[in-house]
Amino acid sequence: MDRSKKYWNPYLGGVLLGLVLLAAFFFSGRGLGASGAIKSVTSAAVETIAPGYAANAQYYVESKGSHEGGPLKNWLVFEMLGVLVGGFLSGAISGRLKFKVEHSPKITSRRRLIFALMGGVLFGFGSQLGRGCTSGSALTGMAVMSVGGFVTMAFIFGTAFALAYFFRKNWI
Protein backbone atom coordinates (compact mmCIF):
# COMPACT_ATOMS: atom_id res chain seq x y z
CA MET A 1 0.00 0.00 0.00
CA ASP A 2 1.58 3.29 -1.02
CA ARG A 3 1.88 6.11 1.42
CA SER A 4 -0.68 8.35 -0.25
CA LYS A 5 -3.46 5.88 0.52
CA LYS A 6 -2.59 5.34 4.12
CA TYR A 7 -5.42 5.99 6.52
CA TRP A 8 -5.15 6.75 10.21
CA ASN A 9 -5.14 4.02 12.81
CA PRO A 10 -8.87 3.44 13.52
CA TYR A 11 -8.54 3.72 17.29
CA LEU A 12 -6.71 7.05 16.95
CA GLY A 13 -9.40 8.20 14.50
CA GLY A 14 -12.06 7.11 16.97
CA VAL A 15 -10.53 9.04 19.87
CA LEU A 16 -10.23 12.18 17.73
CA LEU A 17 -13.81 11.80 16.48
CA GLY A 18 -14.90 11.41 20.11
CA LEU A 19 -13.09 14.65 20.99
CA VAL A 20 -14.84 16.49 18.13
CA LEU A 21 -18.15 15.18 19.45
CA LEU A 22 -17.20 16.23 22.99
CA ALA A 23 -16.38 19.72 21.69
CA ALA A 24 -19.85 19.93 20.12
CA PHE A 25 -21.41 19.04 23.49
CA PHE A 26 -19.19 21.43 25.43
CA PHE A 27 -19.70 24.45 23.16
CA SER A 28 -23.17 23.94 21.77
CA GLY A 29 -24.85 21.45 24.10
CA ARG A 30 -25.64 19.12 21.24
CA GLY A 31 -23.99 16.36 19.27
CA LEU A 32 -23.06 15.86 15.63
CA GLY A 33 -25.50 15.16 12.83
CA ALA A 34 -25.86 14.94 9.08
CA SER A 35 -29.36 14.06 7.90
CA GLY A 36 -30.84 17.06 9.76
CA ALA A 37 -28.94 19.36 7.41
CA ILE A 38 -30.48 17.61 4.41
CA LYS A 39 -33.93 18.07 5.89
CA SER A 40 -33.23 21.80 6.39
CA VAL A 41 -32.06 22.28 2.82
CA THR A 42 -35.05 20.31 1.52
CA SER A 43 -37.47 22.43 3.57
CA ALA A 44 -35.77 25.61 2.39
CA ALA A 45 -35.99 24.48 -1.23
CA VAL A 46 -39.67 23.62 -0.95
CA GLU A 47 -40.36 26.92 0.81
CA THR A 48 -38.64 28.84 -1.98
CA ILE A 49 -40.30 26.95 -4.83
CA ALA A 50 -43.75 26.68 -3.28
CA PRO A 51 -44.07 29.00 -0.27
CA GLY A 52 -47.84 28.65 0.15
CA TYR A 53 -47.53 24.90 0.02
CA ALA A 54 -44.79 24.64 2.64
CA ALA A 55 -46.77 26.85 4.99
CA ASN A 56 -49.54 24.26 5.03
CA ALA A 57 -47.80 20.90 4.66
CA GLN A 58 -47.77 19.42 8.10
CA TYR A 59 -44.22 18.07 8.42
CA TYR A 60 -42.68 21.38 7.36
CA VAL A 61 -44.81 23.25 9.85
CA GLU A 62 -43.93 20.82 12.63
CA SER A 63 -40.20 20.89 11.94
CA LYS A 64 -40.11 24.64 11.42
CA GLY A 65 -40.62 25.16 15.13
CA SER A 66 -37.10 23.86 15.74
CA HIS A 67 -35.44 26.22 13.25
CA GLU A 68 -35.28 29.80 14.41
CA GLY A 69 -34.34 32.25 11.68
CA GLY A 70 -35.16 29.92 8.82
CA PRO A 71 -34.08 26.38 8.06
CA LEU A 72 -30.76 27.35 6.46
CA LYS A 73 -29.50 29.16 9.51
CA ASN A 74 -29.38 26.09 11.64
CA TRP A 75 -26.40 24.51 13.32
CA LEU A 76 -26.31 21.33 11.27
CA VAL A 77 -26.21 23.14 7.94
CA PHE A 78 -23.07 25.02 9.03
CA GLU A 79 -21.61 21.83 10.47
CA MET A 80 -22.16 19.91 7.21
CA LEU A 81 -20.56 22.71 5.18
CA GLY A 82 -17.60 22.23 7.49
CA VAL A 83 -17.63 18.48 6.81
CA LEU A 84 -17.25 19.16 3.08
CA VAL A 85 -14.28 21.46 3.78
CA GLY A 86 -12.69 19.09 6.32
CA GLY A 87 -13.11 16.05 4.07
CA PHE A 88 -11.64 17.97 1.14
CA LEU A 89 -8.63 19.15 3.18
CA SER A 90 -7.89 15.66 4.45
CA GLY A 91 -8.20 14.22 0.92
CA ALA A 92 -5.98 16.99 -0.49
CA ILE A 93 -3.25 16.44 2.11
CA SER A 94 -3.26 12.68 1.55
CA GLY A 95 -3.45 12.83 -2.24
CA ARG A 96 -6.90 11.25 -2.50
CA LEU A 97 -8.67 13.93 -4.53
CA LYS A 98 -9.96 12.20 -7.63
CA PHE A 99 -13.22 11.97 -9.56
CA LYS A 100 -14.24 8.36 -9.65
CA VAL A 101 -17.00 5.83 -9.14
CA GLU A 102 -15.75 3.36 -6.58
CA HIS A 103 -17.07 -0.17 -7.04
CA SER A 104 -16.20 -3.84 -6.90
CA PRO A 105 -14.49 -5.10 -10.09
CA LYS A 106 -17.38 -7.56 -10.42
CA ILE A 107 -19.96 -4.87 -11.16
CA THR A 108 -20.24 -1.94 -13.56
CA SER A 109 -20.17 1.75 -12.61
CA ARG A 110 -23.74 1.99 -13.79
CA ARG A 111 -24.89 -0.72 -11.40
CA ARG A 112 -22.94 0.93 -8.57
CA LEU A 113 -24.64 4.27 -9.20
CA ILE A 114 -28.11 2.75 -9.37
CA PHE A 115 -27.56 1.05 -6.03
CA ALA A 116 -26.06 4.24 -4.56
CA LEU A 117 -29.19 6.14 -5.57
CA MET A 118 -31.55 3.53 -4.13
CA GLY A 119 -29.49 3.30 -0.95
CA GLY A 120 -29.55 7.08 -0.62
CA VAL A 121 -33.33 7.25 -0.99
CA LEU A 122 -33.80 4.58 1.70
CA PHE A 123 -31.26 6.13 4.05
CA GLY A 124 -32.80 9.59 3.60
CA PHE A 125 -36.27 8.25 4.28
CA GLY A 126 -35.16 6.15 7.27
CA SER A 127 -33.27 9.05 8.80
CA GLN A 128 -36.46 11.10 8.95
CA LEU A 129 -38.52 8.25 10.36
CA GLY A 130 -35.81 7.36 12.89
CA ARG A 131 -35.16 11.01 13.85
CA GLY A 132 -31.53 10.99 12.84
CA CYS A 133 -28.93 8.94 11.03
CA THR A 134 -25.71 7.22 12.00
CA SER A 135 -24.28 10.53 13.24
CA GLY A 136 -27.20 12.24 14.93
CA SER A 137 -29.09 9.28 16.27
CA ALA A 138 -26.62 6.39 16.61
CA LEU A 139 -23.27 8.03 17.47
CA THR A 140 -24.54 11.07 19.33
CA GLY A 141 -27.38 9.12 20.91
CA MET A 142 -24.95 6.51 22.21
CA ALA A 143 -22.65 9.14 23.69
CA VAL A 144 -25.54 10.57 25.72
CA MET A 145 -26.70 7.03 26.55
CA SER A 146 -30.07 7.55 24.84
CA VAL A 147 -32.09 4.33 24.60
CA GLY A 148 -33.33 5.33 21.14
CA GLY A 149 -29.75 5.92 19.99
CA PHE A 150 -28.71 2.41 20.98
CA VAL A 151 -31.83 0.87 19.41
CA THR A 152 -31.36 2.72 16.11
CA MET A 153 -27.65 1.83 16.04
CA ALA A 154 -28.41 -1.84 16.62
CA PHE A 155 -31.05 -1.94 13.88
CA ILE A 156 -28.97 -0.06 11.29
CA PHE A 157 -25.95 -2.34 11.70
CA GLY A 158 -28.00 -5.47 12.42
CA THR A 159 -30.05 -5.06 9.23
CA ALA A 160 -26.96 -4.35 7.12
CA PHE A 161 -25.26 -7.47 8.52
CA ALA A 162 -28.37 -9.59 7.97
CA LEU A 163 -28.66 -8.54 4.31
CA ALA A 164 -24.92 -8.46 3.53
CA TYR A 165 -25.03 -11.89 1.90
CA PHE A 166 -27.55 -10.80 -0.74
CA PHE A 167 -25.51 -7.78 -1.81
CA ARG A 168 -22.06 -9.37 -1.61
CA LYS A 169 -21.42 -9.10 -5.34
CA ASN A 170 -21.56 -5.31 -5.05
CA TRP A 171 -18.73 -5.16 -2.56
CA ILE A 172 -16.41 -8.16 -2.58
Binding site: M1, G29, G87, R96, V101, L113, F123, T134, M145, N170
Partner: protein
Protein backbone atom coordinates in the same frame (compact mmCIF):
# COMPACT_ATOMS: atom_id res chain seq x y z
CA UNK B 1 -19.30 26.27 32.53
CA UNK B 2 -20.50 24.35 29.53
CA UNK B 3 -22.42 24.02 27.40
CA UNK B 4 -21.32 27.53 26.49
CA UNK B 5 -24.16 28.36 24.14
CA UNK B 6 -26.95 27.13 26.39
CA UNK B 7 -25.47 29.14 29.24
CA UNK B 8 -25.24 32.19 26.95
CA UNK B 9 -21.48 32.48 27.34
CA UNK B 10 -21.12 32.61 23.56
CA UNK B 11 -23.56 34.17 21.11
CA UNK B 12 -25.76 32.36 18.58
CA UNK B 13 -23.65 33.72 15.70
CA UNK B 14 -20.45 32.43 17.28
CA UNK B 15 -22.26 29.15 17.74
CA UNK B 16 -22.83 28.85 13.99
CA UNK B 17 -19.18 29.60 13.33
CA UNK B 18 -18.23 26.92 15.85
CA UNK B 19 -20.61 24.55 14.06
CA UNK B 20 -18.61 25.16 10.89
CA UNK B 21 -15.28 24.54 12.68
CA UNK B 22 -16.58 21.42 14.43
CA UNK B 23 -17.81 20.23 11.03
CA UNK B 24 -14.31 20.69 9.59
CA UNK B 25 -12.92 18.52 12.38
CA UNK B 26 -15.69 15.97 11.82
CA UNK B 27 -15.07 15.77 8.07
CA UNK B 28 -11.30 15.70 8.45
CA UNK B 29 -11.35 12.82 10.93
CA UNK B 30 -13.90 10.82 8.90
CA UNK B 31 -11.93 11.20 5.68
CA UNK B 32 -8.58 10.46 7.33
CA UNK B 33 -10.05 7.31 8.86
CA UNK B 34 -11.13 6.09 5.42
CA UNK B 35 -14.85 6.83 5.68
CA UNK B 36 -14.87 8.47 2.26
CA UNK B 37 -14.62 4.99 0.69
CA UNK B 38 -17.82 2.96 0.34
CA UNK B 39 -15.92 -0.30 -0.06
CA UNK B 40 -14.07 0.33 3.18
CA UNK B 41 -17.36 1.11 4.94
CA UNK B 42 -19.09 -1.95 3.47
CA UNK B 43 -16.09 -4.06 4.53
CA UNK B 44 -17.59 -3.94 7.99
CA UNK B 45 -20.40 -6.28 6.92
CA UNK B 46 -18.10 -8.86 5.33
CA UNK B 47 -15.38 -8.86 7.98
CA UNK B 48 -12.56 -7.74 5.69
CA UNK B 49 -12.39 -4.24 7.15
CA UNK B 50 -13.84 -3.42 10.56
CA UNK B 51 -12.65 0.19 10.71
CA UNK B 52 -16.25 1.40 11.06
CA UNK B 53 -16.83 -0.57 14.25
CA UNK B 54 -13.52 0.52 15.80
CA UNK B 55 -13.87 4.20 14.98
CA UNK B 56 -17.55 4.33 15.87
CA UNK B 57 -17.31 2.69 19.27
CA UNK B 58 -14.03 4.36 20.24
CA UNK B 59 -15.62 7.72 19.43
CA UNK B 60 -18.82 7.04 21.37
CA UNK B 61 -16.86 5.89 24.43
CA UNK B 62 -14.41 8.80 24.25
CA UNK B 63 -17.22 11.35 24.12
CA UNK B 64 -19.19 9.53 26.83
CA UNK B 65 -16.20 9.39 29.19
CA UNK B 66 -15.23 12.96 28.33
CA UNK B 67 -18.67 14.17 29.37
CA UNK B 68 -18.57 12.19 32.62
CA UNK B 69 -15.20 13.72 33.52
CA UNK B 70 -16.21 17.22 32.42
CA UNK B 71 -19.26 16.87 34.63
CA UNK B 72 -17.13 15.64 37.53
CA UNK B 73 -14.82 18.65 37.20
CA UNK B 74 -17.83 20.98 37.03
CA UNK B 75 -17.08 22.03 33.45
CA UNK B 76 -20.25 20.70 31.88
CA UNK B 77 -23.82 20.61 33.15
CA UNK B 78 -25.13 17.27 31.85
CA UNK B 79 -28.72 18.25 32.54
CA UNK B 80 -28.43 20.84 29.75
CA UNK B 81 -27.22 18.37 27.14
CA UNK B 82 -29.81 17.41 24.54
CA UNK B 83 -30.79 13.75 24.90
CA UNK B 84 -32.31 12.19 21.80
CA UNK B 85 -35.93 11.24 22.52
CA UNK B 86 -36.98 7.63 22.12
CA UNK B 87 -39.96 6.76 19.93
CA UNK B 88 -39.52 3.01 20.00
CA UNK B 89 -41.45 2.02 16.84
CA UNK B 90 -39.86 4.59 14.54
CA UNK B 91 -36.41 4.00 16.04
CA UNK B 92 -36.68 0.32 15.05
CA UNK B 93 -38.35 0.72 11.63
CA UNK B 94 -36.19 3.75 10.76
CA UNK B 95 -33.09 1.78 11.75
CA UNK B 96 -34.09 -1.15 9.53
CA UNK B 97 -34.75 1.11 6.52
CA UNK B 98 -31.38 2.85 7.07
CA UNK B 99 -29.67 -0.54 7.37
CA UNK B 100 -31.03 -1.58 3.95
CA UNK B 101 -29.89 1.77 2.55
CA UNK B 102 -26.44 1.27 4.06
CA UNK B 103 -25.77 -2.15 2.53
CA UNK B 104 -27.16 -1.07 -0.86
CA UNK B 105 -25.61 2.38 -1.01
CA UNK B 106 -22.40 1.84 0.94
CA UNK B 107 -22.60 5.20 2.69
CA UNK B 108 -24.46 6.93 5.46
CA UNK B 109 -25.26 10.65 5.16
CA UNK B 110 -22.15 12.00 6.92
CA UNK B 111 -19.72 9.71 5.13
CA UNK B 112 -21.36 10.41 1.76
CA UNK B 113 -20.52 14.11 2.15
CA UNK B 114 -16.92 13.12 2.92
CA UNK B 115 -16.78 10.93 -0.16
CA UNK B 116 -18.31 13.65 -2.34
CA UNK B 117 -15.77 16.16 -0.96
CA UNK B 118 -12.90 14.16 -2.47
CA UNK B 119 -14.63 13.47 -5.77
CA UNK B 120 -16.51 10.19 -5.35
CA UNK B 121 -19.33 10.26 -7.92
CA UNK B 122 -21.12 7.37 -6.18
CA UNK B 123 -21.23 9.47 -2.99
CA UNK B 124 -22.71 12.39 -4.89
CA UNK B 125 -25.43 10.16 -6.34
CA UNK B 126 -26.10 8.76 -2.85
CA UNK B 127 -26.58 12.35 -1.60
CA UNK B 128 -29.03 12.95 -4.44
CA UNK B 129 -30.90 9.90 -3.18
CA UNK B 130 -30.89 11.29 0.37
CA UNK B 131 -32.70 14.42 -0.77
CA UNK B 132 -35.26 12.33 -2.65
CA UNK B 133 -35.76 10.12 0.40
CA UNK B 134 -36.26 13.09 2.72
CA UNK B 135 -38.66 14.64 0.22
CA UNK B 136 -40.60 11.39 -0.02
CA UNK B 137 -40.94 11.27 3.75
CA UNK B 138 -42.05 14.88 4.10
CA UNK B 139 -44.40 14.86 1.10
CA UNK B 140 -46.26 11.76 2.17
CA UNK B 141 -45.93 12.51 5.90
CA UNK B 142 -49.59 11.78 6.78
CA UNK B 143 -49.02 8.19 5.64
CA UNK B 144 -46.38 7.51 8.30
CA UNK B 145 -47.24 10.09 10.90
CA UNK B 146 -48.81 7.48 13.16
CA UNK B 147 -45.72 5.27 13.06
CA UNK B 148 -43.47 8.32 13.47
CA UNK B 149 -45.18 9.31 16.70
CA UNK B 150 -45.97 5.88 18.14
CA UNK B 151 -44.55 4.60 21.42
CA UNK B 152 -43.16 7.90 22.66
CA UNK B 153 -41.09 7.01 25.72
CA UNK B 154 -39.69 10.47 26.43
CA UNK B 155 -35.90 10.68 26.70
CA UNK B 156 -34.82 7.65 28.73
CA UNK B 157 -31.14 6.79 29.03
CA UNK B 158 -29.65 3.31 29.13
CA UNK B 159 -28.34 3.66 32.68
CA UNK B 160 -31.80 4.71 33.94
CA UNK B 161 -33.46 1.74 32.26
CA UNK B 162 -30.86 -0.65 33.68
CA UNK B 163 -30.96 1.06 37.08
CA UNK B 164 -27.22 1.69 37.29
CA UNK B 165 -25.07 4.82 37.49
CA UNK B 166 -23.78 6.55 34.36
CA UNK B 167 -20.25 5.53 35.26
CA UNK B 168 -21.09 1.86 35.66
CA UNK B 169 -22.92 1.82 32.33
CA UNK B 170 -19.92 3.48 30.65
CA UNK B 171 -17.61 0.85 32.17
CA UNK B 172 -19.86 -1.93 30.89
CA UNK B 173 -19.93 -0.44 27.39
CA UNK B 174 -16.13 -0.15 27.38
CA UNK B 175 -15.81 -3.84 28.26
CA UNK B 176 -18.28 -4.77 25.52
CA UNK B 177 -16.39 -2.59 23.04
CA UNK B 178 -13.07 -4.21 23.95
CA UNK B 179 -14.61 -7.64 23.35
CA UNK B 180 -15.91 -6.48 19.95
CA UNK B 181 -12.52 -5.01 19.02
CA UNK B 182 -10.96 -8.36 19.79
CA UNK B 183 -13.46 -10.14 17.51
CA UNK B 184 -12.91 -7.47 14.85
CA UNK B 185 -9.14 -7.97 14.82
CA UNK B 186 -9.71 -11.71 14.57
CA UNK B 187 -12.18 -11.27 11.66
CA UNK B 188 -9.77 -9.09 9.70
CA UNK B 189 -7.14 -11.83 9.95
CA UNK B 190 -9.61 -14.54 9.00
CA UNK B 191 -11.13 -12.69 6.01
CA UNK B 192 -8.15 -10.74 4.70
CA UNK B 193 -8.57 -8.60 1.63
CA UNK B 194 -5.75 -6.35 0.60
CA UNK B 195 -6.85 -4.51 -2.49
CA UNK B 196 -10.03 -2.58 -2.78
Amino acid sequence: MGPLVVNEIISPMTNLMLAFLIGIGFGFVLESSGFSSSRKLAGMFYGYDTTVLKVFFTAAITAMLGMLFFSLFGWLDLSMIYINPTFMSSAIVGGIVMGVGFIMGGFCPGTAFCGAAIGKIDALVFIGGLFLGVLLFTEAYPLWEKLYKANNMGSPTMNEVLGVSRGLFALGLILIALAMFWVAEWAEKKFPREEY
